[in-house]
Amino acid sequence: MSTRNRIAVVGLAEVHPPQGMSQRMMASEATRLAVEDAGLKISDIDGAIDLRRTGGGGDRASYSDTFTRFLGMQAQFYFTIGRGGALAGLATAAATGFLDRGLANYVVCVGAVDDWSKAEQTKKQGHRGMQHAEKEGYWGKPLGDLRAASHHSWMAARHMAQYGTTSEQLGAISVAQRTWACLNPDAKMYGRPITIEDHQNSPWVVEPYHRLDCSLISDGAIAFILTTEERAKDLKQQPIWVSGQGFGEIAASYWWEKKNLTHMAVAPAKEKAFAQAGITLNDIDVAQLYDCFTGEVLLQLEDYGWAEKGQGGKYVESGATAPGGHGIPVNTGGGLLSNWHLGDLVGYAEAVQQLRGTAGDRQVKDAKVALTTGHGGELVSPSMCSIHTSTILTVD
């Protein structure tokens, strides 16, 4: 790594305006604020990456105007990237290439969603949940596989059948993250604590998933600015270093082995990211694990090695991941379950906050190394042919 440019996160911003605002407006505003946070000017930004949730259900590739034009930014390149909720990790890797080769000095990566507003619109047509956009070649729609919960819940179901994991154990993940969210005044669910009983009493959406196993539907945008080491040193914020990245694909092996309901493609991603960063699991102070549903958190806790495969339920049940827990603090801003849902940008932003030491009441003491992960992909029976992204951010 020593011969390459080190890359740093030097600006960060998040906006959650009232419903009804366009995605390009939210992306523009988050960008404007992230540039300000970095102590830069819009005219300094010469590269722009728009984080769009292609893959998965629905056509969300791009919109009919670039936010760069909208914002009056003179970027030399603009493109979209992302696969389902795997956004910030992929954008960081792409931006690293441009920065490392001297093709850009400062790259903004921004993702905006208007799912909440869109869901309100489709509710008027009698539907529920996220907006309905039919994807070419998607198998299950006419049969009843309609939304992420329709097939993601198979992960929990299979884990329960194979290892005896219980709904209450999944509830412990939901409760732990809500407890974190109640320490985060910017979280959607701030001030609304829940108990295991609340989890159990929340209606089934797709059994074995209760309402409180499912992530939020949000509006908003998150932007971050990346630059090279020598530029990062002179800026307003303490640089947060991108010290390691790795990626894994379910299609490489787990899909064929029918293990993709009980595993995520963590192994290759972890191996590369940890090796680059020169760390082991014990070096990680805080983990932001992609949590579209509670089951994904359980699987990753096992796949990374905080719990043995099949024992994740016992681990979370002990309160290990909650504030004051004995284990790894997980999704310390509340995550997609209780903070906001803007894909992996939420965990990425929270990791930066924790490492900057600006996380307020939820600050993990002396956090120096953060893991942040992303997940997303297509549904090909037996389900979820997805990517796993692993990014190690560090203070030093």
């Binding site: 994807k135 329709s150 819940s153 797709v206 090909v380 037996p382």
Partner: protein, 153 residues
């Protein structure tokens, strides 16, 4: 060979999403209309796939021409399951609650649909139960949907 199985003719107007049929799956959907559950099968080694792909076991002919669609037994076991209590799409309001299962066919591939007829009792405890294919014809709409029903061991 035509698979056995119940034929359910649905008389109502179709108010749900339509099947997404493309060049790779058109022949599979034609098979369903003939009451055949087709699997993409390698003529060299017999490996069965669904959906369509290149054979993983050896070199392939251009455009995977060494594979073709062959009927399956239509039998398998529930690999994972859930119970939908929530109609995400308005067309499913009268169907909830329904069991939606991932079925591992005896030939290996895994495919998903609902369970019709006798219903499972629990989406977790009934994982592993034996099932067979059933065909739900929609002649007015021009397609047949695959469903599964529980069978004795």
């Amino acid at each position: 060979m035509t698979n056995e199985g119940v034929t359910v003719t649905e008389p109502k107007k179709w108010n749900k999403p339509r099947p997404n049929i493309d060049a790779d799956s058109a022949e599979f959907w034609e098979g369903l209309k003939r009451h055949e559950l087709l699997l993409w099968t390698c003529e060299e080694c017999g490996a069965a796939y669904w959906p369509k792909c290149y054979c993983r076991n050896h070199e392939n002919k251009p455009f995977a021409a060494n594979l073709s669609w062959k009927p399956s037994s239509g039998y398998g076991r529930i690999f994972a399951m859930n119970r939908h209590e929530y109609a995400f799409h308005a067309g499913f309001k009268e169907d909830v609650p329904y069991f939606y299962a991932l079925v591992e066919l005896d030939e290996g591939p895994v495919i998903s649909s609902t369970i019709i007829g006798e219903q499972p009792t629990d989406p977790i405890k009934d994982i592993g139960r034996r099932v067979k294919i059933a065909f739900e014809d929609h002649p007015e709409e021009g397609f047949t949907l695959p469903r599964f029903e529980l069978v004795a061991e």
